[in-house]
C-alpha cells in the first residue's frame, strides 16, 4: 500500500511542478505524461489493485482539472491507460528496465493518439489533427526518458519505508 501513496503524491507533485516549469522556462507545449508513468509504476510494481484504481482516479481528476478540452476526457484516458497496463502486467511479468521504458513510451503514444483523435472529432475545425504526429513522438520520448528516474524515486521511497517499518516491528517484539 505505501507504494500507492508514494506514487500518488509523487505524480501529483510532478504534474503541478511541470505545469509551472513549462510556463516559467518558456517551453512551447507540455512534454512528459506523468499520469502514464504513474500507471506504469503501479502496474509494474504489482501495487494493490483497489488502491491503484483510487490513486489513478485522483491523479486523473487532478490532471484533468489542469487540462483544457472536454472535462473528464483526460481523466478517462488515464484510467484506460492504467487498466490496459494492469492487464499487461498480469500476462507479462517482466521487471526489466528496457521493457518498462518501451511500454511507457508506447502507452504514452497510444494515449496521445487517442486523445488527439477524439479532440479532432470534437473540434473538427481545429488544426489538432496536423499536430498529432509531432506530439506523439516528442511526448513518447520525453516520457520514456523520465520513466527510469521516476521508478528509482518510487522504489527508493518504498524501500526506505519498508526498512523503517521492519525496524519498528523488531523494536516492538
Amino acid at each position: 500500500m505505501p507504494i500507492v501513496v508514494f506514487n500518488g503524491v509523487a505524480a501529483l507533485l510532478l504534474i503541478v511542478l511541470q505545469s509551472n516549469f513549462v510556463s516559467a522556462f518558456h517551453i512551447t507545449a507540455f512534454c512528459i505524461n506523468f499520469s502514464v508513468i504513474s500507471a506504469c509504476a503501479l502496474s509494474a510494481m504489482n501495487a494493490p489493485f483497489a488502491g491503484s484504481v483510487f490513486s489513478m482516479l485522483l491523479i486523473g481528476a487532478f490532471a484533468d482539472s489542469m487540462s483544457s478540452g472536454p472535462p473528464g476526457l483526460y481523466h478517462l484516458l488515464c484510467m484506460l491507460a492504467y487498466f490496459a497496463l494492469a492487464a499487461l502486467a498480469l500476462r507479462v511479468r517482466s521487471q526489466r528496465a528496457i521493457f518498462i521504458v518501451v511500454v511507457a513510451a508506447l502507452t504514452c503514444a497510444a494515449f496521445d493518439l487517442l486523445y488527439g483523435m477524439i479532440l479532432a472529432i470534437i473540434y473538427p475545425e481545429s488544426t489538432i489533427l496536423q499536430a498529432i504526429p509531432s506530439v506523439l513522438w516528442r511526448n513518447a520520448i520525453a516520457t520514456a526518458i523520465f520513466t527510469p528516474p521516476y521508478f528509482w524515486l518510487i522504489s527508493k521511497a518504498n524501500a526506505i519505508w519498508l526498512i523503517r517499518s521492519q525496524s519498528g516491528l523488531r523494536r516492538k517484539f
Binding site: L12, V16, L17, Q18, S19, N20, F21, V22, S23, A24, F25, H26, I27, T28, A29, F30, C31, F49, A50, V53, M56, L57, G60, A61, F62, A63, D64, S65, M66, S67, S68, G69, P70, P71, G72, L73, Y74, H75, L76, C78, M79, L80, Y82, F83, D112, Y115, G116, L119, I122, Y123, E125, S126, T127, I128, Q130, A131, S134, V135, R138, N139
Partner: protein, 287 residues
C-alpha cells in the same frame, strides 16, 4: 453476497474507474465554460497548488532566464542599435504627418473615438497539461466577480487570447494561437479580411490566416489587427505580422502564416478587458 462481492471486486473497480470520468464527461456535455461543482473543487485545489509552486519555480527560472538574457545581450544590443536608427528616421517623418493630421482634424472637427477599456491585471501561473492546446492558467491580481468566459485578454504588445473558464481568482486563457481559436482579423495596411487560427505547432507559436481573398494584396511583414466585427475582440488590437503569404494561382482564397506580436513563451503580466469605460475613466485602469 460477501463471496460474490469479493469475486467481482476487480470488475466493480474497473466499472467505477471508467464510469466516474464518463459521468463527468456527460454532466458538462463537453463544455469547459460551465464549471460543475466537482470540477470547481478540483480546479481550485490544482490552481492553489500551482499558485504556490509558481513562487518557487518562478524564482529559479528567474536566475536561469537572467543568465540566458546575458548570453544574448551583445546580439540584442546590435539589433536594437540598428532598430533605433531606423525608428529615429521614421519618427522624423511621422512628426510631420502628425502635425498635418492634427491640423486636418481641427479643420473637420473630428472627435478622438479611440475606446478606453477597463482592465483587470493578471499573472501567468501555469500552463495546460494537454499537449494539443495552448492554454495558460492565470491569477487575477484583485478579487472581482465580473470576469466571464470569452472576454478578451491582452498584454502590452497586443492580443493574447480569450478567457476560457473562470473559477474565483483563477482563469484559463485560450491563446490566440490555440488550434481551436478563430479570430476575425484585418491586415493593417491593405485591410484584407481573414480568419486567424492557431497551428498547434510544437516548436513555434505561429498561426495561419485563411479565407483571405486571392485578389487582396497581402505583404510579408504587414501588421495584422483584430477586425472587431465578430466575437468579443475590440477593433485594431495588434495580433501579429505576416511571415509568409501562400498565394495560389487559382481558387477564391489565399492563406498566410503569421508570427504573433506577443511572445507567448515569455508572458508574465497580462490584462483581461472587462469592458469599455463610459464617461471619465480611472487613471490606473485603462489603455
Amino acid at each position: 453476497m460477501k463471496e460474490n462481492l469479493k469475486r467481482y471486486r476487480n470488475l466493480l473497480l474497473v466499472i467505477v474507474g471508467v464510469s466516474l470520468p464518463l459521468l463527468l464527461l456527460s454532466v458538462q456535455g463537453g463544455q469547459r465554460a460551465t464549471v460543475s461543482v466537482p470540477e470547481r473543487t478540483n480546479m481550485f485545489l490544482a490552481a492553489t497548488a500551482q499558485n504556490h509552486f509558481d513562487y518557487l519555480v518562478g524564482n529559479s527560472a528567474g536566475f536561469w532566464n537572467a543568465y540566458i538574457d546575458l548570453v544574448h545581450t551583445k546580439a540584442d544590443n546590435e539589433a536594437l542599435r540598428l532598430e533605433n536608427a531606423r525608428l529615429r528616421e521614421e519618427n522624423t517623418g511621422l512628426q510631420g504627418i502628425l502635425q498635418e493630421n492634427a491640423r486636418l482634424n481641427k479643420l473637420v472637427g473630428f472627435r478622438n473615438a479611440r475606446a478606453i477599456f477597463e482592465l483587470a491585471p493578471a499573472r501567468v501561473i501555469a500552463a495546460d497539461v494537454s499537449p494539443y492546446f495552448r492554454v495558460l492558467r492565470i491569477r487575477v491580481e484583485a478579487e472581482r466577480n465580473d470576469i466571464k468566459p470569452e472576454m478578451p485578454v491582452v498584454s502590452a504588445e497586443g492580443l493574447v487570447g480569450r478567457v476560457e473558464r473562470v473559477n474565483g481568482r483563477f482563469c484559463d486563457i485560450m491563446l490566440a494561437v490555440d488550434p481551436r481559436s478563430k479570430i476575425d482579423i484585418l491586415t493593417q495596411v491593405n485591410r484584407s479580411r481573414g480568419i486567424l487560427s492557431g497551428l498547434g505547432d510544437d516548436r513555434s507559436y505561429d498561426a495561419k490566416i485563411s479565407y483571405l481573398l486571392r485578389r487582396d494584396e497581402v505583404e510579408e511583414g504587414e501588421l495584422v489587427v483584430t477586425s472587431g466585427r465578430a466575437g468579443s475582440f475590440p477593433k485594431e488590437l495588434p495580433v501579429g505580422r505576416v511571415r509568409k503569404v501562400n498565394s495560389k494561382e487559382f481558387g477564391l482564397y489565399q492563406s498566410a502564416t503569421v508570427e504573433p506580436i506577443v511572445d507567448f513563451s515569455r508572458l508574465e503580466e497580462l490584462y483581461i478587458i472587462i469592458g469599455e469605460i463610459k464617461g471619465e475613466p480611472h487613471a490606473d485602469s485603462r489603455i
